[in-house]
């Protein structure tokens, strides 16, 4: 779908980026595909690794859902394959349930969603969107991926330890996590790698966004995707280090016998811990389990905004391009996302309402938590209003992006009773919480990720994905994902507790066990549905329709690369930007879009 009439070829003069013309020897396999410093290759590396772990993390939950729907029953087919630390005679063990639960959370957050949203989409698209030839620090970028991958390997390898992987939740609360099996130590080491990777990446993103923009691309002409990535990078930069510190402290507790998080007089299974063997013998005590919670949530709250902000960025781009009109309220979007990023640092203790904090500080965190819902609403509203009066093209990415809006709304609204201390007393640690955050991340962020994949696949591969398979994937996923998470609000309100191996442990949970079965079946069907996506993804690589350089007729710079898929150097010449990012349906123009770099 060539758009040569509207797409004026940028600039003149001798260009950088014609790597193949300069007489340099072509890079070998290893430096081209493995140890590449090119942001596009690194983006793809992140993307593929993250998709593998997204699938793995999902499978962990599918196994857990069997135990939750049919407690005590052997898992069909694969039950016998699970290691001794996880299942016995095909029946999931409590330790195995806890292990899968902890690793599901960890993998989804740190090995799948963030690497997809930031590592994959951020790395690949951001330099293209700002008209740059690469990131500011290409080798640092490579180091970031090669710090990520060992972290993934360590996490994955921990499944095969005799004691199993980490089992104390993705939140790793001590003292439980301090006395857990060796898998927890591996988890901590894996986290150090992953955090390092994020820190290196965030430095790169910020410097690149501020310093490497094409001429004419002022900050307020940046696509919202770039703003979202910029704020996300600040969150990663400033919020991750306390968790790295906390991980070091927990490692010290577990390996050196310190008592940072260990209170005095701890009794495990009727015995005083100080009298046990091993590293805890004679430990000094006096530590604070709450200290871990503070340090953990100081990161983990901004982390959830790291999960959602790139998604908002992706959805914004897809909506703009498929509504053929500018995004409504660009400035309010930008100021909201900046304010959101700032506020995200001062709300963390709303995860700790039940720890007996003083009233004054509880009220403080409740207030900031209520305030932070404001900018989210502004962003959602701006995106919703952007649909008003538009000629909407219901392409597959647009389906996912449109669905994101009400799904994120449900997720956000259900957060309010959790952010208010009074109602949180009842809802804390119930399935309501699980429903809330999954709505934001699963039909929220993951749908946005799918939207992004369907939207940018033509740019990355030069081919279109199959529309029919894509639509089927969307509708079935939409149906089943609501089937998974909607019942959880009712289960939670009835008092069904989360992180419980036996769903029938409390009598009152029996009343909502049927909902749990519905969730499980929806989850398994959702899993089957993803096969459509996987099939589409690989089939289209070879057999998808050729895309041309700008199949969606979009305005932003990533569609103006010299080649599709883009090659090293990206652009024939550094583009000059003459206008804002969403000049769609501009009166007086023949085409219904005016690319950013096109001459006036």
């Amino acid at each position: 779908m060539s758009t040569s009439a509207a797409h004026a070829h940028p600039g003149s003069g001798h260009a950088h980026g014609h790597g193949h013309d300069h007489g340099h020897p072509a890079p070998g396999f290893w430096s081209h595909y493995v140890f590449s410093t090119d942001h596009k290759t690194i983006g793809i590396q992140y993307g593929l690794t993250a998709l593998v772990f997204l699938f793995l993390g999902f499978c962990l939950m599918l196994v857990m859902r069997w135990q939750l729907a049919y407690p005590g029953q052997p898992i069909p087919v694969i039950g016998g394959w699970l290691p001794k630390s996880i299942a016995d005679a095909g029946i999931l063990l409590p330790e195995g349930y806890n292990a899968f639960g902890a690793m599901h959370g960890t993998i989804m957050v740190f090995l799948a969603i963030v690497p997809l949203g930031v590592g994959a989409f951020g790395n690949y698209i951001l330099p293209l969107m700002i008209g740059a030839q690469d990131m500011a620090f290409p080798r640092l970028n490579m180091a970031s991926y090669w710090s990520f991958l060992p972290g993934c390997v360590v996490m994955f390898a921990s499944f095969f330890l005799p004691g199993g992987p980490a089992q104390s939740g993705w939140t790793s609360y001590p003292p439980l996590s301090n006395i857990a099996t060796s898998g927890q130590t591996w988890w901590l080491l894996g986290m150090v790698f992953l955090i390092t990777s994020s820190l290196l990446g965030s430095v790169n993103f910020i410097v690149t966004t501020i310093h490497m923009r094409a001429p004419g691309l002022t900050m307020f002409r940046l696509p919202f995707f770039v703003w979202a990535q910029l704020v996300t990078s600040f969150l990663l930069l400033l919020a991750f280090p306390p968790l790295e510190a906390a991980a070091v402290l927990q490692l010290m507790d577990r390996v050196a016998g310190t008592s940072f998080f260990m209170p005095e007089g701890l009794i495990i299974s009727t015995k005083l811990l100080t009298e046990s063997a091993g590293v805890f013998q004679g430990y000094s005590g006096g530590g604070s389990p709450l200290l871990w919670q503070h340090l953990f949530w100081f990161l983990a709250h901004p982390e959830v905004y790291v999960l959602i902000l790139p998604a908002m960025g992706i959805v914004s781009e897809v909506i703009a391009s498929n509504t053929r009109k500018p995004l409504w309220g660009y400035k309010s979007l930008v100021f909201s996302v900046i304010f959101l990023g700032f506020m995200s640092f001062v709300v963390w203790a709303h995860h700790m309402y039940m720890t007996g904090m003083g009233q004054a500080i509880s009220i403080f965190f409740q207030a900031t938590t209520m305030i932070i819902s404001g900018p989210s609403v502004v962003i959602l509203t701006a995106l919703l209003i952007s649909l008003w009066g538009a000629s909407i093209r219901y392409t597959v990415p647009m389906l996912f992006a449109t669905a994101f809006l009400p799904m994120f709304a449900i997720g956000g609204l259900t957060g309010l009773p959790l952010g208010l201390t009074a109602s949180d007393i009842h809802l804390h640690d119930t399935y309501y919480v699980i429903g809330h955050f999954h709505y934001v991340v699963a039909p929220g962020t993951i749908f946005a990720v799918f939207a992004g994949i369907y939207h940018w696949y033509p740019k990355v591969t030069g081919r279109m994905m199959n529309q029919f398979l894509g639509k089927a994937h969307f509708w079935l996923s939409f149906l089943f994902i609501n089937g998974v998470f909607m019942p959880m609000f009712w289960s939670g309100m009835a008092g069904a507790l989360r992180r419980q191996y036996d769903p029938l442990m409390q009598l009152h949970a029996e009343t909502v066990q049927g909902l749990g079965v519905m969730t499980s079946w929806s989850a398994w069907l959702l899993g089957l549905t993803q096969l459509l996506f996987i099939l589409n993804f690989f089939w289209s690589l070879k057999a998808g329709a050729p895309a041309g350089e700008n199949p969606w007729h979009a305005t932003t710079l990533e569609w103006a690369t010299e080649y599709t898929p883009p090659r090293h150097g990206n652009f024939a010449a550094v583009p000059t930007v003459h206008r804002g990012p969403y000049e769609y349906s501009v009166p007086g123009h023949a085409a219904d879009f005016v690319p950013q770099h096109e001459h006036a």
């Binding site: 600040f234 389990p289 003083g358």
Partner: protein
């Protein structure tokens, strides 16, 4: 940051050496003051003031912050703000109030206590300030 000429360069060199001297003096001061064993709040204040002075000298002169632009300052101010949040808020969670209470907490008394106890409510309201620190410190997880 290139130097305009010889004199400008020499001036910078002098500044670096003067700051070195100041840092040395401040180090001596902070160690000397510590020997006096002041009360904790005062000792902490003095120590932090001296450390901040030393730190500011290192940051503004050695790290050239005094010649940098606003853009960098905004990033650093943000960082300093979040650092302050990280330093103060966790400790504040161990306090029932932060000095804004207008009415002392009065636990509800059952009917049998009311008349006999009269106006004495202190004993039951022992949750505030100083004791909560110790309770948190014993790490009973509250």
């Amino acid at each position: 940051m290139h130097f305009a000429n010889q004199a400008d360069a020499a001036k910078h060199k002098r500044t670096y050496l003067m700051v070195f001297g100041a840092l040395a003096v401040l180090t001596v001061i902070t160690v000397a003051v510590a020997k006096v064993h002041l009360a904790m709040p005062l000792a902490v204040t003095v120590a932090m003031v001296v450390a901040l002075t030393k730190g500011s000298l290192v940051a503004s002169v050695f790290m050239h912050l005094s010649t940098e632009r606003k853009a960098l300052f905004s990033v650093l101010i943000l960082c300093v703000f979040f650092f302050a949040v990280l330093m103060t808020l966790p400790v504040l969670t161990t306090h029932e109030s932060v000095g804004l209470v207008t009415q002392k907490y009065q636990p509800m008394h059952g009917p049998s206590h009311g008349a006999a106890e009269g106006g004495h409510s202190d004993g039951a309201a022992g949750h505030s300030e100083s004791s909560s620190g110790a309770a948190a410190g014993k790490g009973d997880g509250r």
